[in-house]
Amino acid sequence: MLAFTIRRLFEAAIVMLTVALLAFVLFRFVGDPINQMVGQDTSIAEREELRERLGLNDPVLVQFGRFIWNAARYDFGISYQVKRPVTSLIAERFPATFELAITAALFAILLGIPMGVYTGIHRDSWLSKLFLSVSLVGISLPTFLIGILLIYVFAVQLGVLPSFGRGEVVKIGGWTTGLLTASGLKALILPAITLGLFQMTLVTRLVRSQMLEVLRTDYIKFARARGLSDRAVNFGHALKNTLIPVITIIGLQLGAIIAFAIITETVFQWPGMGLMFIQAVQNADIPVMSAYLLLVAFLFVLINLIVDLLYVWIDPRVRIYGREA
């Protein structure tokens, strides 16, 4: 277990270094940072001085070291576009994305697992077929179309839910939350459904196929032979054994939710990190882009690591394999 953990940590570090290198190259070589910072009428001498002061004339390796050192201390420089430290921008935007992602994930799990179990047990009922057709449509409809459809129905036609922004937010320390006000909760509904729908269909299909597989095994037949109730067999035995891969996939999908939040946030003008990233891409705001890249990579690597370790912890078979390898 320890060796496995160390190896995984080492791999995670390598991934992070690779991404950091990418972010650095982006930061340093895509477009001239000096040109982005100064106005048209700055003289060449002044430019040279700024270049020297920012250390852009140092050897590239030194610059890379400094970039990593700064990133490790959570310092990503100053945004070209809004002329403020990138970290304070991120601190402002992070709570919005976090609340949206968690709500969407809960929506996906709380609806997806029951739907998956139902379609797995009652294979041929019309309700299962309905669930599966809906899930196929959910996979085929792009996220932004679902968002636009929801906006058209609930905001334009019915006028019951807001179509953009977070509503009223409450500030608690450095964290802004929309979960404590009625308008904040109302504003969360449509974006969370938009973001969670694809994940929900994924969970449904996964739980269904796992249930189908597990229900075919001998220990389920044996449990039935022992005269256990359907309920005990389906939930106590079958569902429990389907959950390991489901936990893995849901964990990994958290990363996808953060990535897809970019689209949802654009559709709903949700003031989160995804919207910040898209605006940075459109304005060539490189410091924001590279900071977002590093942060998201860090989140992904962290989630992957936790899922891997959890997996070993839950499933003894992986533990043995891990020891051998």
């Binding site: 791999e11 390598i14 991934v15 690779t18 991404v19 982006l26 895509v30 477009g31 196929l136 449509v137 996979i139 085929s140 409809l141 792009p142 996220t143 932004f144 179309l145 636009i148 459809l149 906006i151 058209y152 334009v156 179509s163 990363g255 996808a256 990535a259 897809f260 970019i262 689209i263 654009t266 559709v267 990233f277 898209i278 940075a280 891409v281 459109q282 060539a284 490189i286 882009m289 890249l293 998201v296 990579a297 992904f300 690597v301 992957n304």
Partner: protein
């Protein structure tokens, strides 16, 4: 030696006539064709796909207007509802957008660019993924480790994010000097974000295939490794590539539309389903639903049909994959 061989009498085995019937006849005799014929849903999906792709390819001929022709546009015609709604104009069957472009024609042209980008991107992904997978699986060792590690890192990030990133970098690099290169940047960014699946699948299958007798035989007669890889191993690992390719095509169409919708894909002057929906989205609150609805429906139906075809192909080619 070869002349000796030619003089030998040709033995007509019972199998020979069947082989002589040609590829077309054999196709109609295959399990694949049978499973296609026996599912009504798949036939409908194939028909819809063919219809949309055909209409898109023929767009310069069948489209009633040319959305690229700026002179033909008239701002007086802008924001017209579909012809059957009150205030509609019979010249514009599905209405017009904010610049007075005919929605139907723009959808036809837009679908053409969407499909072209997606197909090219998937082909690029297949090219990269299959070659890397073959090399990794066949050579093994350090090459394998490096390629698969890169694949692992790439797999950590969702395709849409990678595509967005590559697109962002390219847009920044060529700021203001793109001049029509957006099309190829899209192909590149989508293609580069999809290759991993092919590489992993092909590598896994190559590992199995390379120990089979026909590969050993080919090695014995002194064929080069490249020739064995591409002439012998490749054809035997292609069927899952075809399946993943079809499913990926649907994903690529979605990704292209998403990128264009986010404003980092094709420019608004260049019609694509994504840019049309982006423009229409701005007018949703003023009640101009047709600007979003028709391109949106086209996109959804196209993706659904391609997805159904992909599902069918997966089940038909390899029941075990189910």
């Amino acid at each position: 030696m070869s002349t000796e061989e030619q003089r030998l009498p040709v033995i007509d085995t019972p199998r020979a006539p069947a082989a002589r019937r040609g590829a077309v006849a054999r196709f109609f005799d295959s399990d694949l064709w049978y499973s296609f014929r026996s599912s009504r849903l798949v036939i409908v999906a194939a028909a819809i796909t063919l219809l949309i792709v055909g209409a898109a390819l023929l767009s310069p001929i069948i489209a009633p207007h040319d959305p690229y022709d700026l002179r033909a546009l008239n701002l007086m015609d802008s924001d017209l509802p579909p012809a059957w709604v009150k205030g509609g104009d019979p010249r514009f069957l599905l209405g017009t957008d904010d610049q007075g472009r005919d929605i139907l024609s723009t959808i036809l042209y837009g679908t053409r660019s969407s499909i072209a980008i997606s197909v090219l991107a998937v082909l690029l992904a297949i090219g990269i993924g299959v070659s890397l997978g073959l090399v990794a699986g066949y050579f093994g060792g350090i090459v394998d480790t490096i390629i698969m590690r890169i694949a692992d890192v790439k797999l950590t990030f969702p395709a849409i994010l990678v595509a967005l990133l590559i697109n962002g970098i390219a847009q920044t690099l060529f700021r203001g000097r793109l001049g029509g290169a957006e099309f190829w940047i899209l192909v590149l960014s989508i293609g580069l974000s999809f290759w991993v699946q092919y590489a992993r699948t092909v590598r896994g299958m190559t590992l199995v295939e390379k120990n089979k007798e026909y590969v050993q035989a080919a090695r014995l007669i002194g064929m080069s490794r490249t020739a064995i890889m591409f002439k012998h191993v490749l054809p035997n690992v292609l069927s899952p590539v075809l399946v993943i390719g079809t499913i990926n095509l649907a994903l690529a169409i979605i990704t292209e539309a998403t990128l264009s919708f986010l404003g980092v894909g094709l420019p608004p002057t260049e019609p694509s389903l994504g840019t049309m929906i982006q423009i229409g989205n701005k007018y949703l609150f003023s009640g101009s639903w047709w600007m979003v609805a028709f391109p949106g429906i086209t996109l959804a139906v196209l993706v659904l049909a391609v997805n159904l075809l992909g599902d069918w192909l997966r089940d038909a080619l390899n029941p075990k994959l189910r």
